[in-house]
Symmetry: C2
Subunit: 491 residues, 2 copies
């Protein structure tokens, strides 16, 4: 029989829970008296369906069944998990728990999405307080893995174990909070930063946008992969965490925030932090941690670059600005010798292009050749403006000879020859060089298409003319080794 | 003539500046009396050389020349930019500026890396205060784009403009801080969070590792791409930012941090924030922002997945846990019908695999086929344990027919046939299916190599035996359309 999740209270958070359970194969029953609940949850579900399944490298289970219930009883009967996400009013939450447990008898875990209340407060007055705990997620619930799991002293340990197992099976990371406090752990940081941000705006130091930039172009990137303490461990260097705290310590006494109540840096506290940090990160040297950090930063910034957002948009702007002043061929008018192969890529191999064999992954050869083809298309006139008018080239066929290994950091170049540029067809041959080493060749046939019909169509006159000119000039070049080969053909 | 940067004070920050200037083509002159400075900067430079050049999609300029100077004068004479990164002692910094300006006469921008001092304090007593400003970077300086640029009221505006232009040309984002305050903007947040973290450790609520997890599995990922206000704008939904603040407002009065001095949420402050947020993000609807956020999160989490770190390591653990209970072929012993094609990929297409044509990018076809080959290698015995013993397969040749478009979210499968598994050779043919649509074929020849010599070598007996068995069984299959074709061959 399928697992059933009862979602009490829809909205963004309840909807996020519903989406995660559903896409992980659970059946979901929603109870929310809001007449808009079905629409709201549907919107969250749309977002989840487009983003969550591809996050994993294997297929998710078949999606479960979603049902909106008329009564609370209908939703919670037979449930394996009840998740409460009603508004942040303590009496309301307590009343909902009493009603839930009247129906199901206290045999089911009730997780609360509360961001502020302690589980002891929530369970106060419940018939079965042992089944109640905080399971506080982060928006968007269908993507972010963190769930703060906070039991109260009376929560049945078996329920806590079950909760950890279930949340893990949903692809989440249950963080068991050791002692219940208001706002658990993460929201204390959010609150501290929010208060500081309010002061900065109020005092006219920075605008909301400048504050966001100060976060996402700097420490936000660090925190997304290592958090606070591991980042500072690296900053402290080989001298260690205790040394770092001693150095950073005096700032605690300086007027660096509007919020001045600070703990004393006793030897006890310094030792606690240093030894926890050793346990957390001590199996790796600072040098190793630095490289891991840099690998992560490069990978995330390049991921954002592909999205043209945040730190990645900065990188794109910067590439563009440098293109304008570079020697490489960026435009048809810049081609000096029309009869020579055209340089279409000139770059270093980024850290995130290597694989378990320690060299550039095979798929990145095609990425380089794809970039070369994009540049060649651009040069003949199939640029962003042209594509916006509804025409583009789609690759129909690819042949790659992987001739030599390439490592991260290596400077690579691609030289491109046009073998055929007649009609709808574009047949190009790329040579990938690292210095004097020919590392790969790529032979590609592209077809011009209408982006509306997705069917073959003729390119613009300008493109046809330029392609024809380049093809005619390139015909005089000797045929490069590898052209027209089939896979496995003798050399 | 080349631009020259004078780096006064080495260490991690000075070294990071030196690396960024050098790799952007500037000549760099370092002055630091520390006898270890050359070694320390060399280490930072090693890290920068391996990570920065590949971050960009075009080649960086030729690296500049690095020279360590015996005297401050030698370093700053002829400099275009002086960057001071000496220890955080005000008198020391002031003394250094006096000496610098004695040598160069006040014609050069002096940027200070100070994280705490205000520029007015720094410039106090200087002969040419107009040339002094704060240029506060973030570690690692060679990767993170943020620089807080803080002039004092007496800083020459021309110097501020030049500083913005120079920092931008280095691939950085100069954030001009509107009013000077202690610790500028970003470090106020770092300090607030640091104080809160100290309390949490001291009170035994969470360990350093749990705190790091609370950050990097949750809001850290949000902040890396959108920061604080744009994230909350989304959380507020269509009702807008003012509505969000009203809802979130009461929490300011709750005991959610140890640091309780809070600004009053006057109408003025609410309006200021709401209208700033409109200017920042108002050109996009909440729905658009949600999708951008999800695209970014998926892209960053998948980037971390490839690094097997943070939220990405969680995803890998979770994939592995699900593999153990899945029906797909994960091991040789699980093959039910040795004569049938083997299912080697079964997944959804992630959001970050699409390109400007709105479909799965051509390079991702090879990524899918590479993943299929990896799985096939795994099945015949070339798994992580085997690779650790020094043998692996390298792809020598690839032929792809791109037969149909695939969109993000589509469930895809790959079926793999072994055409040849004799000796050092592995010749496989993949069919990529989306439901009943054949979207691509991939034909690949791999060669078994020794990872030590990087030369061809024989695989283990187990691999040879399994490959031989599968090849013999697959010979009975009809030859699929597309095998042995060359690029451009008639169908």
């Amino acid at each position: 029989m399928k697992n059933i999740a009862a979602i009490i209270g829809g909205g963004v958070i309840g909807g996020g829970w519903a989406a995660r359970f559903l896409l992980m194969g659970w059946d979901v029953r929603v109870f929310d008296p809001d007449p808009e609940a079905e629409r709201k949850i549907g919107e969250v579900l749309d977002n989840a369906r487009r983003s969550l399944p591809g996050l994993s490298d294997t297929a998710l289970p078949t999606e479960g069944n979603l049902r909106f219930c008329e009564t609370l009883e209908d939703a919670v009967i037979s449930a394996t998990w009840v998740q409460e996400s009603v508004p942040e009013r303590l009496e309301l939450k307590q009343k909902v728990y009493r009603q839930i447990q009247d129906h199901e008898g206290g045999s089911v875990i009730i997780g609360s999405s509360t961001s502020g209340f302690k589980p002891t407060e929530l369970a106060d007055g419940a018939k079965h307080p042992e089944a109640i705990l905080v399971a506080h997620p982060f928006n968007p619930v269908y993507l972010l893995p963190l769930v703060e799991l906070v039991p109260h002293p009376g929560t049945e340990p078996g329920f806590v174990d079950d909760a950890k197992e279930i949340l893990t099976s949903l692809g989440m990371h249950p963080l068991l909070v050791r002692k219940e406090i208001d706002a658990h752990v993460a929201d204390r940081f959010l609150e501290a930063v929010w208060r500081e941000a309010l002061w900065l705006v109020k005092d006219g130091i920075a605008t909301t946008e400048e504050i966001d930039d100060a976060i996402r172009y700097g420490f936000g990137l660090r925190w997304a992969q290592m958090g606070l303490f591991e980042t500072y461990r690296i900053a402290g260097g080989e001298a260690g965490m205790a040394h770092f705290i001693e150095q950073f310590g005096p700032a605690l006494k300086w007027p660096w925030t509007k919020l001045m109540d600070v703990p004393d840096l006793t030897d006890d506290l310094v030792n606690t932090i240093a030894s926890q940090s050793d346990r957390q990160s001590g199996t790796r040297s600072i040098r190793q941690l630095e490289r891991i950090r840099d690998n992560n930063l490069v990978a995330m910034m390049r991921a954002l670059k592909a999205q043209n957002w945040g730190a990645g948009a900065l990188l794109n702007d910067w590439d563009t600005a440098r293109n304008d002043t570079s020697d490489a061929v960026m435009d048809y008018a810049e081609i000096e010798d029309i009869g020579a192969p055209i340089e279409t890529v000139n770059r270093a191999v980024p850290l995130d292009w290597t694989d378990y064999n320690g060299h550039m992954n095979e798929a990145k050869y095609l990425q380089v050749f794809g970039d070369a083809t994009d540049r060649f298309m651009w040069i003949v006139g199939c640029d962003a403006d042209y594509i916006a008018t509804g025409g583009s080239y789609f690759t129909a066929e690819t042949h790659i000879r992987h001739l030599d290994e390439i490592h991260a950091g290596t400077r690579i170049r691609v030289e491109t020859i046009c073998l055929n540029g007649q009609g709808k067809k574009m047949h190009v041959f790329h040579q990938l060089w690292a210095g004097e080493r020919l590392c790969a060749t790529g032979e590609h046939i592209l077809i011009h298409v209408s982006l509306e019909t997705r069917r073959p169509s003729d390119p613009s006159d300008k493109i046809a003319r330029r392609l024809g000119t380049i093809e005619a000039a390139h015909h005089a070049l000797p045929t490069p080794d590898g052209v027209g080969r089939f896979v496995g053909a003798p050399r």
